[in-house]
Amino acid sequence: MNTIYTYFKSHKWLLLIILLGTFAGAVYYGMQCKLEENIFKLLPKPEKSANVPALAFSNIKLKDKIFVQASHAEGEDYSEMLAEAMDTFMEKVWAYDQEPRKNGEGLGAIENTLSEIDPFVLLEAGTYLMEHGSAYLDFTDEEMNEWTSAEHVEQQVQQYLELMDTDLGEQLYDIIAYDPCGIVMGGGLERTLEEQSRHAGEGRTDGMKAFQHNHIFTKDGEACLGFITPSFGTDDSKKAARMEKNLERAKADVEEAYPGVKIMWHGTVIMSAGNSLRIKKDIATTIGVSLVLILLVLAWAFKRPTYWGLLLAPIVYSIMLALGLIFVARGWMSFMALGIGAIVLGVAMSYCLHVIVHYVYVGDVEATIKAQAKPVLMGSITTIGAFLGLLATSSSLLQDFGAFASLVIVGTTLFSLIAMPHFFPKHNDANRRAFAVLEKINSYEIDKNKWVCGIVFAWVIACCCSSGKYEFDANLRNINYISPEVREAMDSWSEKMNDGLQQQYYASFAETTEEALEQLPRIEALVDSLREAGVVKNTIRISGMLPSLSKQEERNAHWMAYFTEEKQAEVWRNVEKACAKNGIDADWFEPFKEKMAATEEPELLSEAGILPDEILGNFIENVDGTAMVYFPIKTTMEDAKGVKDVLTKMDGCMVLDPYYYSTDLVELIHSDFTRIMLISSLFVLLLLLVTYRNFWVAMIVFLPMTLSWYTVLGAMALFHQPFNMINTVVSAFVFGIGVDYSIFIMDGLLHGEKKTMASHKTAITLSATVLITCMFSLVFAVHPSIHSIAFASLVGMITTMMLSYTLQPNLYRLYLKIKDKRQKK
């Protein structure tokens, strides 16, 4: 290292060119690095198999729908006002969405909205169903004989004529023309509805009995409902945040125009935006405040601003270098990995502190490099080794974290040892009083205080004994942030629409819509058995509404087989007789006569152009080349997981819950991570053995790090703090910093010089102050994932530091004593 220093000392211009050149390049590329905010993109995609298609959940539009509720503080007598308020809200949302922004274009965040249903769309759908009636009807010959009998037809025609005296009758004129026998309108439809009701279970109307003023209401009529389909997925949280602002503006407008009306909404896109915003706010407040405190401590210790710059320069340089290299290699990295990676900056800063503090003590640049090169390089190599192991996992989040942390440490180490010494001030005058305070604290031989040592050892032993009992929470839903407003909307929706049950969408998926529809009845049969067992409380049989082409062909064939020419003539005679008796022209029922003779070609309702996309999208979607047919199921919270387990085992059936699939993946990542931590530990031990060439010394350095890891596991179990994907990853840094502290303390112990030990201890104290302040600030974070980091990290940090200060010197003394005894022998 000193050779490099000497070379650059005489070629300082070259060092500056290299530094500025690499930094400029890093900034250029680093600024282009896209920060991915969607946590699901960070998980390994499920392999394409019979049970889960290889599609991106983020592309499924159904799960991204925003559910809007308009309710009135005084209850249900405001349906008309609520319908108007909902329309106004949707109009405003559209208007704000199309409002030109700085680039002259609208936000374009909305694909479609649904709040008002045109009754003519329903009439057209009804006419279509009558035209294709034979394809939608199951009947037995006995039933059809009864419906087409002279008595039944006469009775039916009589009823129709009574209906014709009403407005509804006028509107149904053309639909009735297809059905003089009441096959669909009377018998068949009634029977089909009964059948549907029997299969659907409790609350067949799906909580939407109320259809008033062409709007959908909750069954108690207290809330008018609306749906917004965003044009983007959960991965675009910037757009989601802007869209939410528009929703807020529209809400303010509507609530002002309609006093007493309250607008609420919820949806995954909104939650995703809320998560992203919360993380940013938390990082700004917690890390921001702690950084100010840290800077004050550093400013107090190193009064010269040059030192502040020297501390920050390697960090800024290495962050940009890491981002630049990641952009070149991959183009994007996880925003969450960057957030978590911020903690590694504490580790990186620790190297800078060791070099600077040593310079403050010795005042000689070359002596500083000579003394610090070995422990800093060793510390960084072991830490990099630990983090590089993460690249071998299958999770993007862990890979990003590993790559970012390793690159930051590489950058900081090289900067600290090669570049930084050239910029040391000539006079090594730090705040002598501050250093004196730190030295006084560190000069206390804490390792000789039996009480402190006893407490530390007891704590470590207690934790290690409980380390096997820690819990791992693989459910990513638990580390998601839900704002109070969204929570209120979700609870209200669940109470009003789902009777407090949990509604979950499932899909029959296949390469084509036809295949997905063909297998749907098989899945529905399984749902029926679960309903009969009382596990499924409610569902909708989509196969009744969307029969497959093969099913339609089968029904049409049955129809044609029944309506032979003789039968047609017989039934038509019955119709003519009934019409004559009632004094009307049988021509009214001409469409039925035609339908008896020939059925329509089978056609998928989704391709008939009858239903608008905003309605159809609730049932059928094509995602990444996979056809999906959706159906909802309501269960109790307790039974939800069991139903998912049963249904997803079925070929071609999946649950639209990314968390369900991520649970297994997170568990896989966790076991992956544990395995890699073990490999990293062995790598560190090997490196320590090679460096110290002494088994006992290597073990004394290795032990605090290992014990602190098990202490963290045990403390989590003792305090009932579950591990999750985020705090497990972060705990890896405890491993990294533990190695560093142990190496530096061992360096001091091996040198036996008070000055070296004092320098290391001062640097460790400053580094630990920085990190503990950072960790402690996270206790005040609101986001559950960030908050969850605090406990594990604080326990890890304090234990690591205490073990390095107590266990390590005692073990080293014990080692020397044994060695002396052996030598004397």
Binding site: D87, E91, E116, I117, D118, P119, F120, L123, E124, T127, L161, M164, T166, D167, E170, Q171, Y173, D174, I175, A177, H213, N214, G583, I584, D585, D587, W588, P612
Partner: protein, 187 residues
């Protein structure tokens, strides 16, 4: 042969000129902001059911977006206003969605408003056809036939008659694809 072709061409030219002339005259009679009030009768015919329903009332039209038809039955009306299509009948008020572009009722609402203003060319253009025009000494008659009308709610044929002197609508017959008709006659 040449003479026959020339004759046909001449007829076409004359007819076009006549059509254009009637439409131009109709347009000239109607000004923005015009108001029109009249008593009317409404007759709904369902020939296959031998059913006829007759109602009466008074009508107020204000160009270009307001039409209110009050029936003699208490509280029954049809109201068209900016973004509104409302029908009150049998004690029930039905508001139709007319803001969506593809809404059937939005088109029906626009058709009524254009018919009141004599803008039959616009109706014809909307259904991608030509209006046919004829005249008597006192009236102009315009017929628009939508060949694509199939659904019950579509208008297969619209026949309007206008007073030559005032340009005001005298009668309007709406025929659905199923053969049912609704005829409005101004008194």
């Amino acid at each position: 042969m040449k003479k026959i072709l020339a004759g046909i061409m001449a007829c076409v030219v004359v007819m076009s000129a006549s059509a254009a002339s009637i439409q131009e005259q109709l347009n000239a009679k109607h000004k923005a902001g015009e108001t029109f009030t009249a008593a009317f009768t409404e007759v709904k015919m369902m020939p296959k059911l031998n059913k006829e329903t007759k109602r009466e009332g008074s009508l107020t039209f204000k160009a270009t977006e307001y039409l209110r038809m009050d029936y003699t039955e208490a509280g029954e009306y049809t109201l068209i206003d900016s973004g509104v299509f409302e029908v009150s009948k049998g004690g029930k008020v039905q508001k139709f969605p007319v803001k969506a572009e593809k809404s059937k009722m939005a088109w029906f609402r626009q058709m009524l408003l254009w018919a009141m203003q004599g803008k039959m060319d616009l109706i014809a253009k909307d259904v991608e056809t030509e209006a046919s025009y004829s005249e008597t000494a006192t009236e102009w008659k315009v017929v628009v036939v939508d060949k694509n009308a199939k659904a019950a709610q579509d208008v297969k044929k619209l026949t309007t008659v206008y007073n030559k002197k005032s340009g005001q609508i005298v009668s309007m017959e709406i025929e659905n694809p199923n053969g049912n008709t609704t005829t409005y006659k101004m008194k």
